[in-house]
Symmetry: C2
Amino acid sequence: MIQIDPSKQKILVKNLEKEKAFWESYDKLLIATGASPNKPTIPKINTQGVFCLSTLQSGIEVWQFMETHQPKKAVIVGGGYIGVEMAEALLEKGLEVTVIDRSTYIMKTLDQDMSEEICQSMRKAGIQLLLEERLTAIETDENNQLQAVKTEKGHIPADLVILGLGVKPNTIIAEEAGIKLCDTGAILVNEKMETSISNIWAAGDCASSYHILKEKPMFIALGTIANKHGLIAGSNMAGENITFPGVLGTAITRFNELEIARTGLSEMEAKSMGLAYKVATIQSSNYAGYYPGAGKIKVKLLARKDNLQIIGAQIVGEQGAAKRIDTIVAAISAKQTTYSLAMMDLAYAPPFSNVWDPVQIAARQLL
Amino acid sequence: MIQIDPSKQKILVKNLEKEKAFWESYDKLLIATGASPNKPTIPKINTQGVFCLSTLQSGIEVWQFMETHQPKKAVIVGGGYIGVEMAEALLEKGLEVTVIDRSTYIMKTLDQDMSEEICQSMRKAGIQLLLEERLTAIETDENNQLQAVKTEKGHIPADLVILGLGVKPNTIIAEEAGIKLCDTGAILVNEKMETSISNIWAAGDCASSYHILKEKPMFIALGTIANKHGLIAGSNMAGENITFPGVLGTAITRFNELEIARTGLSEMEAKSMGLAYKVATIQSSNYAGYYPGAGKIKVKLLARKDNLQIIGAQIVGEQGAAKRIDTIVAAISAKQTTYSLAMMDLAYAPPFSNVWDPVQIAARQLL
């Protein structure tokens, strides 16, 4: 185990090949220990065929298991991004797929009304969605072969289990060095990515990110954010003086043809913050309605009630739908109102949009 | 011809069926006379088979002519949006297509380096592009049948000619009423879409639009802008008090698989304004490079040299490329810098983007 001694600016490094440990001095230190998948402590969780996903290697291991064991029935535990993406992938590989989630709906970073579109699409594709089911055990046969997933409600046969239960930041080294963590368990950093101890920085999935709208540090383990962390921390360690403005919790994924994106506050989050807000949800088409191949798009937009400043959006729809979230990300980042958004000179041509882009239709609805 | 008498708040209306004219009084008047395609005054311009495009009816007429005359060789005069879109459509219909343009490059709202991508794509698709060629006459045979297009350099055989030479605002009624026009020939309006004469509004392709970066009224005949004009004028005439922030000259189109978009100032425009700017042009991929079907994207980004405020962008690339211009539209509208853009929490997942979205790669390049 690596150990940090901040008082001496030294770090205890272990050479894993030679099993030899030595103290190395540092001028500036970066903690980039990442995050690890959450794995519940339940019976037989380490059975072969039960996988968490984190690194590329995890993917290779699932792949290899599928090659050698030819599983037929997959159970995915957790209906978040990983769960939805794995459901798509395994379905395409010809498996029967069941997704279980302990909540009343999947993709909890969205509101339930938007999640409903995804549920419909998944069920239509043949996925069994079991909600309000909590994993209690993994079940095996007498030869210790994976047989089923046990929940509070029953048994679901499975010969492949994917756990998509989120990740937790790897912070033991930081904690032991006396570095402050935030409520979320991630390493607390300031806008320069400095930790609470001088000359020690943290970046990536182990570190917190300031949420621009919640105005507090959050733990959001995403590649985009980790990359920005790295840029900021690295530049500052190298003598620059740049700051990270923070995050909005933007995320994007897809299930088959259905694109899904969100940013800022969901209605549920706005409520839990006690924020007075206005909300509009509109249905439109991704391209001009008469254009061949035009599909559906649904946009939910939230704004502060007092000044109509945009605070969040969710988009579900067909081709070209989801990346429209970036327009709203830019608008929120720059503290724009729904009126400003509605009046922006966004791009229109029939193969790309309606005359009023769907995000503007939502903005006008809010006015 | 309609006539306006502003002093009496009356308008002379002609009943076209009964050929009878009468004066009608108005409290508030909207001029929404649109624009008409530019048609050069050259020999035989009115020959059958030579078309301008403006309304849906123009499209129907071209279609009908193609049905009855089965043309084989189309010449498109003008390499702007209409020219490029018609080139794609006629090529798909199996015609030999030649595009002529009097400039050194087509799609002049982009800079030449970006236009080059489009030229390559068009030539690869089999279109003959003739640059620095000016239309001087239409040529017919002894039966007055369309034969060729004459330019300063030679004759190009043609049995279908499309003129894509832009449009001019229809302003005779306004002019005769004493309403001020701007340099561009469009009706001058203020931010409420009021003309220079009280109680008279103008909206749509006949009216000017304030350009946010050029800080002067421009003539840009596009559906998005006309729609916003209508909303603003209509609301204000009905007693509201809303203003139009202006336009950025955003435009989007495509040629086959190549998507094309622009907003704000081109490098050429920045130069002609004498503005000190910085520019970056990057090549990247529309999706994660390893994702199946990932294609190219080229982003050109301009910022003011003094404060790095973003002032323009051009994007050329494959699926999902062009609508990214909206992120930059939002950033310019809100006076964001390249650093703000680079740090925005834009959406990333492999089927949609790189970890750093191409617009952010361009922004970082500029820093």
